[in-house]
Amino acid sequence: MTTYNELAGFRVNYLSADPTLNSGNEGQVWYNSTTGKLRSLVQIKSWAAGGSLSTARRALGGAGTQTEGLGFSGFTTVNVANTEEYNGSSWTAGGNIGTARRYLGGCGTQTVALGFGGQGATAVSNATEEYDGSAWTGGGNLTTARNGLAGCGIQTLALAFGGYNGTAAVANTEEYDGSSWTAGGNLTTARYNPGGAGTQTLALGFGGYSTANTNVTEEYNGTSWTAGGNLNTTRRSSAAGGTQTAALGFGGYSTTFSTTTEQYDGSAWSNTSNMATARTGLAGCGTIQAGLAFGGNTGSVSAATEEFTSSINVTTAAAWASGGNMGTTRRAMGGAGTQTAGLALAGYSTNYVNATEEYDGSAWTAGGNLAQQKTNPGGAGTQTAGLCFGGYLGLTATNSSETQEYDGSAWTTTGNLGTARDQPSNAGTQTAGLGFGGYTTAVTNATEEYDGSTWTAGGNMGTARTNLGGCGLQTAGLAFGGRTTVNVANTEEYDGSAWTSGGNLNTTREALGGSGLQTAGIAFGGLTTVATGATEQYDGTSWTNTTSMSTARRDFADAGNSSSSLVGGGYIAANTNATEEFTGSFVTTTASNLTTS
C-alpha cells in the first residue's frame, strides 16, 4: 500500500489533540492520537437560500457577485425588461433594460454590466446594452444576432460565444471593447445555451446543446478555443461563476431539471454540493468560493435565489430556545441583566405585583421585593446592580417617578425621575442609566440621565412615544418602535446629548423588548395587531430579520445582549411564564475526519 509519506514526501503530524483551527491549517493533515482519527481542515461547500427575486422568471441575464448581484430581463409569460439588484440578502428594483428579451448573455458587475443578444418578441436579437447601476443605454450591436449565447468578462472587455441564430446552433465568438464587437476564434463545438465563465482572454465554455445536450468543455485564450475536461453531467442551460481555472457550474437541464453543481480546476470538473432547487434557464454569477444562482425554470418560473459558499468556517443559525419557566406568571415587567444572570421585576399577574425574580441561565428564583407594586417600569443594569424606575402604580392609578437600586438581594430607593411616567424605555447601567419616552398624560419624548443618585434632563427624542424598546448605553442609546397614537417603526440613536434618526424596524410594533448596544442591538416580540415573536438585529444603520421567538408575546421582561438575549413572561391572550433564550448566529471552524476510499 502506498503511504502518505511516499505520496506527499513527509509524514503526517502525530498530535494528541487537534491544533488551533484557523486558515493557516487549511489543507493540512494530522493524526489525532486521542480519537484515533486522521484529520484535516477542508473547505465545506454548501448552498443556502437567499432572498427571492421580486419577479419570478427564467432565461434571464446575470452579472456581478454573490453580495452585489444583478439579474435582468428574461421571460415570465412574456419577455420582461425588469432589472433587479441583490445586496447579499434581498433584491431591489434597478432600471429597466431597453429591449426586453430572453436567453440573453450577460457579464460585468452590478454597477457596470453588459447585456447582449437574446430572443426578442419576434426575432433573435443583436442588441447590446450597458448598465451603469441605474440605467441601461445602447452599445454596439453583435455581428451575429442570436439567443442562448454565453457571456463573460467585464463591460469593456466582454466575450460572447455560441448561441442559436434562429436556424441553427452557432460557434461564433465575439469580443467587445466597450463600444463594438469584433470576431474571435470559433468554438470547436457549435452549441446553444452553454455555460460561460472567466474573462475575455481566459474564458471557459461548457455544456449546452449542439445536436443533443453536450458535456464538452472548451477553454479560450483570447484567440482560440481548446478542449478542456468534460462535465460529469451532460446538460444545457446551466449557470456559472468564477474563472477559467476555478469555475462553478450549476443547474441546467440534463434529462430533467438539475440541481447538479460542479467545480472546474482548469482541467477537470468534480461534483460538489447540489442546489436545493432543481432548475434550468437560471442565471448565475460570483466565484467558486461565493456563487449566486437565481431565477430559472422549475416547471414554472422561479424566483428562488441560492448562495454557494466554500469555506473552512460553518455558520450556525441564530435560534431561540426555551428557558426555565418563571415562578410568577405575569406581564408588564421590567428587565435587566444578562441571559445567565437576568432580572425580572414588578408586573401584573392577577393583580399588580412588586416581586423580583432572578434567572441563572436555567431557573428563576425569588429576589427582593420592590417597594411598590407597579407595571411597566424601566429596568437597567445587572442582576447584582440593577435599576428600576417609573412605571404605573395600579393600586393608586398614578404614574411613578420612583427609582430603586438592586444589590442582588434588596431594593433601595434613590432619587426620583424628574417626570413621573408609565412605560419608559431604558438603557445603560445602575450608575449611568438612561430613561426615555413613556406616558405621562400623553406620550412623551422626555429623556433623563441617571448618575447613580439623581436624574437630570437629556435631549428629547424626535418622536414622543410610549411602550417602546430600548438598549445601549447612556452615551450611546437606542430607541425603537413603540406607540404614538398608532404603532411606529422609528429608531433613534442617542449620543449623550441628542437623538438622531436611525433605520426603521421592519415590523412596526409596541410593547417590544430590546437588548445589546447601539451598533449591535436586537429587538424582539411586541404587539402589532396581535402579539408577535418577530426578532430583528440592528447594526448601527438598519434592522435585519432573524429567527422569531417560539411564543409570540408582548410586555415581557428583557435582558442580555444582541447575541445572547433573554425573554421572560409576557402576554398573548393570557399571561405566560414561558422563558426563551436567544443565541445569535456564530461561526465555527471544524476539522473533518479523513476516511479511506
Partner: protein
C-alpha cells in the same frame, strides 16, 4: 403533505425546545398550549417526546379561539379607565393558525 402538525403540549421550561430543535423544524406556540410544528420526522418526534396530543388544525384553532374569546371577555369586563390605558390593555384580537 400538510406543512404542519398541530398539537397541545405543556411547556415545562428549560430544554422543552432547544436551539437545535428550532434550527431543525418550524415551531410556534399559541394560547391554550397549542403548538404548531413543522411536518417532518424531527418535528413529529419532538411533539411525541413532549407528551404532546396531536390535534387536527380545526381542533387546534378551536382551542386558540376559545382562549382568545375568554381573554376578550376579561377585557370587556374591565373598567373604562383600564380599557383606555394606552399600551397596557388592548382587546385581544383573533389569532389564525398557519
Amino acid at each position: 403533505m400538510a406543512l404542519f402538525i398541530y398539537g397541545t403540549a405543556i411547556n415545562t421550561g428549560k430544554n422543552f425546545f432547544t436551539a437545535e430543535d428550532r434550527r431543525n423544524f418550524f415551531l410556534r406556540s399559541y394560547p391554550g398550549n397549542v403548538w404548531v410544528v413543522g411536518n417532518s420526522e424531527k418535528g413529529a418526534l419532538w411533539l411525541a417526546e413532549k407528551n404532546g396530543v396531536e390535534k387536527t388544525k380545526a381542533e387546534a384553532q378551536a382551542i386558540v379561539d376559545a382562549e382568545v374569546t375568554a381573554a376578550q371577555a376579561v377585557y370587556d369586563a374591565l373598567p373604562e379607565d383600564q380599557k383606555n390605558r394606552p399600551g397596557f390593555n388592548q382587546r385581544p384580537t383573533a389569532i389564525t393558525l398557519p
